[in-house]
Symmetry: C2
DNA sequence: AAATCCATATACAGACCTGTATATATAAGA
DNA sequence: TCTTATATATACAGGTCTGTATATGGATTT
């Protein structure tokens, strides 16, 4: 991938998170990225296309990092669920954390026909499914139910942490997840 | 309050929830409300002012309804926390539910200097404080911590329920809240 | 050195949005 | 009937945004 294209992606990811997607114009993006609109529209067919690529890259980076961490650091598959929030906290509190795109995107694009809304919904569903499969491996009966609960907490904590760094939201989310997992294991 | 003003408020609340705040122009609002821009700008000094009034009305309606329900239906103050999510579910699943404004507003207006961001943050903080006071009355030690956990679940569930009616998010949020409250009571 | 590719600089069309100006209709009260 | 208050109809100024057109600069390859 071109260096300019990835620069634009990084800058857009940043600005979308800090200023909102709709409030960030392409002029601002190219100005911060140090390039011009002509170049942006060479790599992306439209602003919508840019948003979609930002979402896709963000989700892929997160998912592949998370899978890698779980696979290389946790031996027993049934222990992965317990460690999940440890790694999520590590990701969220890392200095290069730039928010979870799909959480904000679904709020800014509520129209169900919008491709952006559809992609972010799909990513949210995929993440829930990922948690559910870990829960199943851990021997939990209502895996989908627990996955929904954990994703609610996770998405809320990420949103809170991103809005106010060091809010402690992630710490309490981690505690809550432990309690909910323990409860689901003994039922 | 003038009939037209409250009509505009209701319509704006609806459109902001279903289409997003930034994506909803004042032309659309007055067209749906069956009036004109001149009238809207008679009652509201600007679109920002309209948004602020929509947020304030939504939050007041919810908080006063919730307090009323808790006060008139729960005798012992220490039982209020347990019943909290029952009433919230009732509110969220009622046919005239129009979303919790402050959840979406803080996502669409991330700039901390924006009055809209400030108001929605304040409302979120107030709601958390309300839960914390119920937790204290119920004899819970780390009331603020539990309040944060419950508000994370609550905001996530409202968001999910509003995005997809009948998603079951509220049902699992209720279960999670019971587990977390029980755990906090025995620690 | 000539040709080709890549990015820049700049300008602008067309759409949309907020907020206002002006003129008109309607209804109620004196 | 005359006046006053309230809502409508319509047009538009000024701004922002996306996306494109046109011309220029610089670097690499042949």
């Amino acid at each position: 991938m071109s260096s300019l294209k990835s620069k634009i992606l990084v800058v857009a990811t940043d600005l979308f998170q800090t200023r909102g997607i709709n409030s960030t114009g392409v002029d601002t993006i190219v100005a911060v990225a140090g390039t011009t609109k002509m170049t942006l529209y060479k790599y992306f067919t439209s602003k919508e296309n840019l948003i979609l690529e930002v979402l896709e890259k963000g989700h892929q980076d997160f998912q592949s990092w998370l899978s890698e961490q779980l696979n290389s650091n946790v031996k027993k598959p049934s222990d992965k669920l317990q460690k999940l929030f440890e790694f999520i906290e590590e990701w969220v509190t890392s200095p290069n954390f730039r928010g979870m795109g799909f959480i904000k995107a679904s709020a800014e694009f509520p129209n169900e026909e919008s491709p952006i809304h559809q992609l972010s919904s799909e990513q949210s569903r995929q993440f829930r499914q990922f948690i559910s499969s870990l829960a199943t491996e851990a021997g939990i009966h209502d895996a989908d139910g627990l996955a929904l609960q954990l994703s609610l907490i996770f998405e809320g904590a990420v949103q809170a942490e991103q809005m106010k760094r060091g809010s402690g939201a992630m710490k309490y989310a981690k505690k809550a997840s432990k309690i909910l997992i323990d409860s689901a294991l003994t039922n």
